[in-house]
Subunit: 453 residues, 2 copies
């Protein structure tokens, strides 16, 4: 194909996907089911419905339907900020002097600043449709909480957010955005819940973790009439909603007859990565095409690369269902790395199964080298990236440099999941040379893994 490729490939509004794609339908080995923490039996739809909205429970359990239609109300909301551009990183390529062709799918062009809005609006919609009063959730970096507060404002739902304490303190302005959208925000662990009080008693002075915040949000949802809990990552339903990222990216590539050689995404709970790779992984699962797929996780929280594939709790308070996943142990509380969105001890069950079956690779990146890549990228591509997204930037740059050595003209796609406007405390530390690289010792990991259920 000889069509000139613009800096930004935009699809038409009418080409926003009309259905989400469900990778599980094409997986031979399905992800293992969630287990009831009491009985250790697979969670039934009825049991899950006490925690989650009904329609979302259906999506969570659906392993066979490849395409699930996106309701018109959600598509209308998507039109406010989608299609998101697929950007050709011409300036980065030039600066690196690489023959590689680098593309990124940019999901930061909305006020929540990240891809999280794709699932937030879907979950808020189903909550509204079910006639609920409101929803509760946790947030790490604050991206998910912001996205959910926007979505709830749009559908006029109450929104209660438990924010990991370290992020709450590092990102005071995140709280204000959520309040501007009408949400209430509580630093976690808090004295407001039973599980929060218990965690505080056991770990006084803890800076919290996603696992703690999840426990608190679930407790509040299940103890209040008309509320359900919603989650921004890990779950199958979230990966399903996030498939719009990959579907749009693939449609944009198809317009120009391009096939990426490798796809790189950061991995915390797996929402962005699972969404970005979805249609490509579909082709790979069906044997129609092959792609290198690389998950990048922080060296401080290396679930894939140093965790164990086992049943574990998704939350620190051990009140949630058990999931079979790559995990560092639900008692593992990662160092206060600035990529708050990647500080989760576990991983999506779907991605865990795919990784286990050899469909994807995983690598780690250290915090300071991630910020070096972030600053380099910002100066040439003009976008200030979120620390989470910068994990993918770091590895994309590494791969482009390898192409420079070998002369290979590989096509690299990475997910630029969001912007770093609320991460300036982290950038300040980096600019002042005060950032460190915490990597857990083998002993620490063994200790947490020894407590697996």
């Amino acid at each position: 194909m000889s069509k000139e490729i613009p800096y930004k490939i935009y699809l038409d509004e009418k080409d926003i996907p009309s259905s989400w794609y469900n990778m599980r339908a094409d997986m031979k080995n399905k992800p293992a089911p969630l287990l009831n923490p009491g009985t250790r039996q697979p969670m039934t739809a009825q049991e899950l419905s006490g925690v989650f909205c009904e329609e979302l429970v259906k999506q969570e359990l659906d392993e066979t339907t490849p395409y699930i239609e996106i309701p018109q109300e959600i598509r209308d909301f998507y039109k406010m900020y989608r299609p998101a551009p697929l950007v050709r990183a011409y300036c980065l390529e030039k600066k690196l002097g690489t023959p590689a062709k680098i593309y990124y799918k940019f999901e930061g062009n909305n006020t929540s600043g990240s891809h999280k809005l794709n699932s937030a609006i879907a979950q808020a919609y189903y909550a509204k449709k079910q006639g609920l009063k409101g929803v509760t959730t946790e947030t790490g970096a604050g991206q998910w909480g912001t996205a959910l507060s926007m979505a709830c404002a749009y559908f006029e739902l109450d929104c209660k957010v438990f924010m990991v304490k370290v992020s709450y303190e590092q990102k005071p302005f995140r709280r204000e955005v959520m309040r501007t959208y009408g949400a209430s925000v509580t630093p976690s662990p808090s004295e407001m819940t039973e599980v929060g009080r218990k965690i505080l008693a056991e770990h006084p002075g803890t800076t919290g973790s996603l696992g703690c915040a999840i426990s608190e949000a679930v407790e509040v949802a299940t103890h209040n009439e008309g509320y359900r809990y919603v989650l921004g990552s890990v779950l199958n339903q979230v990966l399903l909603h996030q498939s719009v990222i990959g579907l749009e990216a693939k449609a944009a590539f198809d317009k120009y007859g391009i096939k990426p050689d490798m796809i790189i995404g950061c991995a915390g709970g797996g929402s962005n990565l699972g969404g970005l790779i979805a249609p490509f992984m579909g082709e790979k699962l069906r044997g129609e095409a092959d792609y290198r797929i690389i998950a990048v996780e922080p060296a401080s929280c290396p679930s894939f690369t140093r965790g164990k594939y086992a049943y574990d709790f998704c939350d620190t308070g051990m009140i949630c269902p058990l999931a079979k996943m790559y995990t560092l142990g639900s008692s593992f509380i990662p160092a206060p790395n600035h990529a708050g969105g990647l500080r989760f001890h576990g991983m999506s069950t779907t991605l865990s199964q795919l990784y286990h079956d050899g469909y994807m690779e995983a690598v780690t990146a250290k915090q300071t080298e991630v910020f070096e890549a972030a600053e380099y990228f910002a100066r040439v591509e003009g976008i200030l990236p979120a620390p989470e997204s910068s994990h993918a930037i770091k590895v994309a740059i590494d791969e482009a440099k390898k192409c420079k050595e070998t002369g290979e003209e590989k096509t690299i796609l990475f997910g630029l999941t969001g912007t770093g406007y609320f991460d300036l405390v982290a950038y300040e530390k980096f600019n002042n040379g005060e950032m460190d690289d915490y990597i857990p010792t083998d002993a620490e990991l063994e200790e947490a893994l020894s407590r697996l259920p």
Copy 2:
């Protein structure tokens, strides 16, 4: 025309304007020339070249060329974030229940968060082309400083920013973005310059103003070999570069055969407003079409509505040329309103002449009603607006409500100049009910105006 109008009208990359449009070429009454503060004679190109880059001086003085070609290097940079979308505010219209059709040209989809980048990249380009080492500037809200630091990083120029002290304190993270892009940032007034020391001696404890910061930046530029001063608003060259906003908006409207009835923009020094209205004003000046054009300024700094049309200094230190403009007096230091980008005592000479000749209207808005409009807009349109831009939102909503009363289906265009990610201290005050409305008394204004040169 019956074509369905999408939520966001995007032009193709090839339709990024290839020339800027110079309103002055179509003005019968040209804006009055800048005067030398010593001789009170019109500034010559040679005199201006000590302060500004040569090519920019040519643009500053060019009153006859209607279209000035945009160099390819600048157009390539524009491709990283332009064309900017023209958004149909369907959700806002629905919420208001108005028959009006509301559109906004959104300039916040780049890391600097505002339209300022359009001129920053042009000014940095000409500085680089002239072989300079670096540039100096002032910044109020921080939008211009951020934009300039990005532009300088791209062309590898040194960038020294003087930031109005009140903004420096309200927006600690703005400084970090600029540092991440490699700029140095000094709160103004500072002890670093002669004029800064003088202002501090006369007004101890002052929170600064754009006028002070300009004086300091000009002093540093003129006292350092290989440096020139660049300015983010007020000047003719800046309005010229910003005409891309209006040119793109008009091209997007033309695609659908739409003609707006009124065009609304916030006005501080006039860069956004002058750019947004440029091609529409051109038609109006040439008698080809008519539009209502409305400038919105903060009640705390009402240059158009309560100022005087007279020659005045552009800076507090009175070392810059004199400009004939609507002014509150260069000694007027506005209250620490949160719309830092609108806290300038004067106004573009071009817009001043057009206002004087009756081609546009001006209104004021109070701070709290501006933030009410901002929050309302954020919740329905999903974008957190900058306080500056929210002045235009406030008046656009007012006009849409009038249409609801009269049943008129007017087409409203307003400029959404940027995002409010760095204005969360202001939103916090608003959310806490701690925001006030400062409006200068007649006596205060008379005092400042009595000191006009």
